[in-house]
């Protein structure tokens, strides 16, 4: 297939579709796993061919007018749009703020584009706008430009929001997925898999004894603390769609290093663990919206950890694994009972098991 693809691209504009396995887009292409990666790497990256895009980071970093800027964009198509702990508007602001923060940047300005379905309740829109207002204030960013489109009833699913943002890269920050080095400690700022389970519990009508609330939060002030604590921060990633497992795989592949996670060290709340047990989900693949994974040189890890724990969003920070020279490109987890297994990327959507 590769031959066909290259040959035809060279011959002119009449490119064939560079994927033959699927004639239509499936939900799994948007799941954040292997199919998403294939779609991006075959359909998008080669066609727009540039170094910044090729890095496949959360945002692009470039120099303009003497300043190092970060630029990122993200769309939100979540169902339900109101969920325990937040709504689609807060998520849209926090998500782009976080993508910029993961580039080592201080987020400055955001744009927001709304695609609204005819008949969408004005009250709901108002709640979403208020959510965005509060989130922008909380993150210290300005929402400075936007766009609104309304589509026919039935041609959208309530509301879709796309936010883009720019930020200024903190001096001295050299955050890049390729920078992970053997020995780096991997720190996460608290219990994982909360957002995905919060959404799942509402979407699927599951009720638990304790309400599980999304962890959606702007991480820029925590990232600022991390960057100030030690210069030796190599990679920052927010494990959103696809979860911690997708991040460790992407970083292992980008850096050509191995990653070793310790299952016993993974922070999980009892409620989330219980929900995952019931659904047959692996929390490593469940989405987060207020978590950052920091890959930090071993010498700086304690200092970074202390600084993170002093921040309200980082008080439960722990080390969950390390970067190793062995098994380059592959993430491995030491299991609770002491065995070892590969942590692969998800091939599609995580689906509840039969029994």
């Amino acid at each position: 297939m590769d031959n066909v693809q290259q040959g035809d691209i060279a011959s002119g504009p009449a490119c064939p579709i560079p994927m033959t396995e699927y004639s239509t887009v499936t939900l799994a292409h948007g799941g954040g796993g292997k199919l998403t990666q294939q779609l991006i790497q075959r359909m998008f990256v080669p066609q727009f061919d540039n170094e910044m895009l090729g890095r496949l980071h959360d945002g692009a970093v470039f120099t303009a007018g003497g300043a190092r800027l970060a630029f990122s964009t993200d769309s939100y198509v979540i169902k339900p749009i109101f969920f325990p702990g937040g709504n689609i508007g807060e998520l849209a602001v926090n998500g782009t703020v976080n993508d910029l923060a993961m580039c080592g940047a201080k987020p400055l300005y955001l744009s927001s584009a709304f695609i609204i379905e005819e008949g969408f309740p004005m009250d709901d829109l108002w709640k979403i706008v208020l959510g965005m207002q509060a989130a922008a204030k909380n993150a210290g960013v300005g929402l400075v430009t936007g766009d609104t489109k309304v589509v026919d009833r039935g041609k959208g699913d309530g509301i879709f929001i796309t936010t883009s943002g720019i930020g200024i890269v903190e001096p001295g920050a050299a955050i890049d997925p390729r920078n992970a080095r053997a020995g780096d400690m991997i720190i996460v700022n608290g219990p994982i898999a909360v957002h995905g389970i919060a959404i799942m519990s509402v979407r699927e009508g599951l009720s638990f004894d304790t309400e599980i609330r999304s962890d959606t939060a702007p991480l820029n002030s925590l990232v600022e603390v991390i960057l100030k604590a030690g210069a030796d921060v190599h990679v920052l990633r927010d494990p959103t769609r696809g979860g911690v497992a997708s991040v460790v795989n992407e970083i292992a592949q980008s850096s050509r290093k191995g990653i070793l996670l310790d299952e016993a060290a993974l922070p999980l709340s009892e409620e989330v663990r219980g929900a995952c047990e019931i659904l047959g989900f692996d929390p490593l693949y469940v989405a987060n919206e207020g978590k950052v994974m920091a890959f930090v040189a071993p010498g700086a890890a304690e200092k970074v950890l202390r600084a993170m724990r002093a921040h309200p969003l980082g008080k439960d920070s722990v080390i969950i694994g390390e970067v190793v020279e062995e098994h380059p490109g592959v993430a491995v987890m030491k299991s609770l009972i002491g065995g070892a297994r590969v942590v692969d990327m998800l091939s599609g959507e995580q689906l509840p098991r039969i029994c």
């Binding site: 065995g339 692969d344 509840p352 098991r353 039969i354």
Partner: protein
């Protein structure tokens, strides 16, 4: 988490691993029947704790893997009909039929919905009286009672728009088929704990006797599996072939009697085709005549379905424990979790998918 953490304890696992190592004097081949056990073995790296020469082969107990291709094609044909709401457990949606899967039907506009219980499907039927709601009833004895209950309820309520596409299979006939094969190499079994929670384990005594194999009813947590292996190896080393119960916290010898009564009322035992293995007599359930108004196979005439398995796929040999996934020529090349040729590469409980993920550690 109480009642879970105790069975995932590192020290406890080390203790059992040591005990297994101490009593093992010869190579043995043990089959874990259930896909849930395979999942635990892979997820927790249980094999890395066992002595060399002690081989685990992964049995046919993954419902996703043994559902025949023709049945999946039938499900796809029904789900593609106008007016149908097709409901299923999540992991059946991605199993490839001859040309596509149920997720593709959904992508093309079919009303395919994931549910967590057949009773959810029943609710959908109540809420949508003008639509025909079909539930894909897949699985072993474990999932059968809930499906029987859904049909029983629908019948009682007069919900004419609810039907079951029934593809239930039974464990003991599969063990019998594996042990009857002239090339069988399995010397002991970990029986599926949850199947026995429903059915009890009376039916395993004749099998253990006739084929002189130890059968240990085993749970699903890593310490359960390790203890089940220990009990099986101990029997093998001592030359015994008995039915033992490791999973005493859930399983009683007689099983769940009211559930069995419901099963007998709604289902009758029938011959079934197993994907990769073939026809096994009296190895599954079909709906009794009394409930045929809820039998999707009878309601929807989708014509003759002739499904062709990929000639490259050796799922049958894998499900019978005759070959390991990496011994298949298509493994990891033509056949991957993104583009599976056979079902064991699809399900997270499937042996091929498990090996694919585990194997990549070694390049």
């Amino acid at each position: 988490m109480k009642y879970v953490d105790e069975y995932r304890d590192r020290e406890g696992a080390k203790k059992f691993a040591r005990m297994i190592g101490t009593i093992t004097t010869r190579p043995w081949t043990i089959m874990e029947i259930c896909g849930g056990q395979t999942h635990t073995i892979v997820k927790y790296g249980v094999e890395s704790l066992l002595p060399p020469g002690l081989t685990l082969v992964h049995g046919p107990g993954c419902p996703v893997c043994v559902t025949p291709l023709a049945m999946i094609d039938r499900a796809i044909a029904i789900a593609s009909r106008r007016g149908v709401i097709f409901t299923s457990f999540g992991d059946m949606l991605r199993v490839p039929g001859s040309s596509r899967d149920l997720l593709a039907v959904k992508a093309e506009g079919g009303d395919v919905r994931m549910v967590y219980s057949p009773l959810d499907a029943l609710k959908i039927a109540r809420d949508n009286p003008d639509r025909s709601v079909v539930f894909f009833g897949v699985g072993f004895e474990t999932t059968a009672p809930a499906n029987a209950m859904a049909v029983f309820q629908a019948h009682k309520e007069g919900l004419k728009n609810f039907s079951l596409l029934c593809s239930h299979v039974l464990v003991p006939p599969a063990i019998n088929a594996i042990l009857s094969s002239p090339i069988n190499r399995v010397q002991g079994f970990l029986a599926a704990g949850h199947v026995c929670t429903v059915m009890g384990f009376e039916e395993y005594f004749p099998l253990a006797d006739r084929f002189r194999v130890p059968i240990v009813v085993t749970g699903f947590e890593p310490l359960d599996v390790l203890q089940g292996i220990y009990m099986t190896v101990r029997q093998l080393e001592e030359g015994r072939h008995e039915v033992e119960n490791q999973y005493t916290r859930c399983v009683r010898r007689e099983g769940n009697v009211p559930a069995q009564e419901l099963l007998r009322r709604v289902f009758r035992v029938s011959d079934r085709a197993w994907r990769g293995i073939g026809d096994i007599p009296s190895s599954g359930y079909a709906l009794c005549d009394e409930y045929e108004a809820h039998d999707a196979e009878k309601i929807f005439d989708v014509g003759a379905i002739s499904a062709q398995e990929s000639p490259l796929c050796i799922a049958g040999e894998i499900l019978q424990g005759l070959k390991k996934p990496h011994e298949c020529a298509a493994f990891g090349g033509r056949c991957t979790p993104e583009h599976p040729l056979g079902a064991p590469m699809v399900s997270s409980e499937g042996a091929c998918a498990a090996y694919y993920h585990f194997g990549s550690m070694h390049g």
